[in-house]
Amino acid sequence: MTASPPLVVSENLTKFFPLPKGRKVHAVDGVDLTIHEREIVGLVGESGSGKTTFGKTLIGLLAKTSGTVTYRGKTLPQQYEAADFRRQAKVMQMIFQDPYSSLNPRMTVGEIVGEGLKLHSDLSASDLRDRVASWLSRVGLEPDYMSRYPHEFSGGQRQRIGIARALILEPEFVVCDEPISALDVSVQAQVVNLLEELKASMGLTLLFIAHDLSMVRYISDRMAVMYLGAMAEIGPAQDVFFEPKHPYTQILIASNPEPDPNLERSRKSTTITGEIPSPVDIGPGCRFAARCPHVMEQCRVQTPLLLPLAGQPDRQVACHLFT
């Protein structure tokens, strides 16, 4: 992949949620990630690892606790004002996981898809209708679905409505938060193919959050692995999937069941013990130390930095085994 210029860069991006008695949820804790123009970065990690919070903070839906996000080299505000939302909505959008709860049941499909355009442009009512109709057909729906309500549609159709709603403003950067997790396999393929087509035709840049590792490998140029609010590993998707370096990534990939019985029979069990700890008031040391099969003394006291691998500048790993 020839490196295109950086589009979105997060530096030391941090989002804590306050708890009673001064305690804090370290949902996102010092994340550096550079997303280049027209690439798809897949973001994986267990539930609670901070993927959604990272995506929302990146595009300003949540205020940053600290750290910065730059977009085309310009630093974005720490907390968005109304004017920032208006400006950024045309540039960055988000597609949500749940095609059932993320669409307002009292609005027609036309109102849902056209809402952003109505707020952010001064199109006449009839131009607005035309744009909504053309976007509905672009995502594979009938234009006359406009007057219907979300409950009349299947999960896959609702996800298409969500995609049309996010893309009608023709943003450059889209965070797709688990857009296929709630869908059946045959429908997942429809939505993934649609996203790939739109990406190609619109020159989109995507952060694709998912827990399906095979799908992330398939669709992404690069893959980022999050654990307990921090990046464990980043690199070209094929390399991370087929040659994972971080012990957590290794276990994650080894846990991913393959639709191939021979492969499954030859796989040795690599189950990890324990579960992802709570991200409340995290101290120093590697976040994975408590579950890591290769843990060393150093791991418990010193936080490993996300550093390039020797000789492989496009791969970064946060693990003392590599420093």
């Binding site: 059946d184 396999v185 799908m215 490998r217 069941p257």
Partner: protein
């Protein structure tokens, strides 16, 4: 020396024949399960796979007497556990077979756990009810069972309430409860669907180990072909309330005999670098179960559909030992039909 006789095939533990379940609803009659037949052997895992709404849960709920009636209705069918009828009753010889001979775990453990009772007590209660054990003996066994289900510090954990457990631990506690009476069959309905992949691996390993140690038969319901490949000996592929293909796990993955099975596989990415392909969605959606089509239920979406497919329902054509596909392409007059499925199962167009 003559070749040794093939090992005598053991009779199946559970045999289900022509199960049909309907729901009377406001909009009409939903034909949820439309003539399902299968059998399960001791020590083996049968996976029932298919997309949402195809009738997987209703099939096993019918066996366990868990279909609400009304609106549900058993239209026909038989189910025998070691030759004894279990359909439409909860008892064999006056004893409840549910929990004792057939254990069940669900996707959401909270549907079968009582939030106001400690985990240990709930497991102990199963033993008291089914086996008549004393409170003390049952509670001690509950701790052993939690330990077998790899719950750390089982003795302390037994005294905790469900809300104090994580999702993965709740599912393991559910397994401990389901195996308490050492049932011959364990039915697991999407037991790992809500779990992260690393926790899923723990739960699947646990199920596999328990099966090896106790010879339990497992009916595993899932929509995930990866989980099927990992766990199953036998597979039933369901579509629109019917089993459209049934065979060994290798049959299903390496010699699929139904276009739907092929379609499901082609819609998923392959992690084999030599078989990388563009995802091939199955266009359209499953038929309306209020009025299922006259012919093959898959005809409207099938790339190979012939004229007969939309008018006559295909029989389950036998294509190998214990392997059948409910598809007209296997009829002798559909020249080259079977090879058409094989060709479709080969890696499609490379991903650019």
């Amino acid at each position: 020396m003559t070749a040794p006789a093939p090992p005598a095939k053991q009779p199946p533990l559970l045999t289900v024949e022509n199960l049909q379940v309907e729901f009377e609803t406001y909009g009409g009659t939903v034909q949820a399960v439309r003539g399902v037949s299968f059998s399960v052997e001791a020590g083996k895992t049968l996976a029932i796979v298919g997309e949402s709404g195809c009738g997987k849960s209703v099939t096993v709920q019918a066996l366990m007497g868990l279909v609400p009636m009304p609106p549900g209705r058993l239209k026909s069918g038989t189910a025998e556990l070691r030759g004894r009828n279990i359909l439409g009753t909860s008892q064999i010889d006056g004893l409840d077979f549910r929990g004792r001979e057939i254990g069940m775990i669900f996707q959401d453990p909270m549907t079968s756990l009582n939030p106001t009772m400690t985990i240990g007590r709930q497991i102990a209660e199963t033993l008291e009810v089914h086996l008549g054990w004393s409170r003390k003996k049952a509670f001690a066994r509950a701790i052993e069972l939690l330990d077998m289900a790899r719950i750390p510090e089982a003795a302390q954990r037994a005294k905790q309430y469900p809300f104090e457990f994580s999702g993965g631990m709740l599912q393991r506690a559910m397994i401990a409860m389901a195996i308490a009476c050492e049932p011959a069959i364990l039915i697991a309905d999407e037991p790992t669907t809500a779990l992260d992949v690393t926790i899923q691996a723990q739960v699947l390993d646990l199920l596999g180990d328990l099966q090896r140690e106790h010879g339990t038969a497992i009916i595993l319901i899932t929509h995930d072909l990866g989980v099927v490949a990992r766990m199953a000996d036998e597979v039933a592929v369901m579509y629109a309330g019917q089993i459209v293909e049934r065979g060994s796990v290798d049959d299903i993955f390496y010699r699929p005999a139904h276009p739907y099975t092929v379609g499901l596989r082609a819609a998923m990415p392959s992690n084999n670098p030599d078989a990388e392909h563009r995802l091939l969605p199955i266009e359209g959606s499953p038929p309306d179960l209020f009025s299922p089509p006259a012919g093959c239920a898959y005809a409207a979406r099938c790339p190979h559909a012939m004229r007969i497919c939309s008018t006559h329902e295909p029989a389950p054509f036998v294509v190998g030992a214990d392997h059948y596909g409910k598809c007209w392409l296997h009829h002798e007059k559909a020249a080259g039909g079977a090879s058409m499925i094989a060709a479709a199962a080969a890696p499609p167009e490379k991903k650019s």
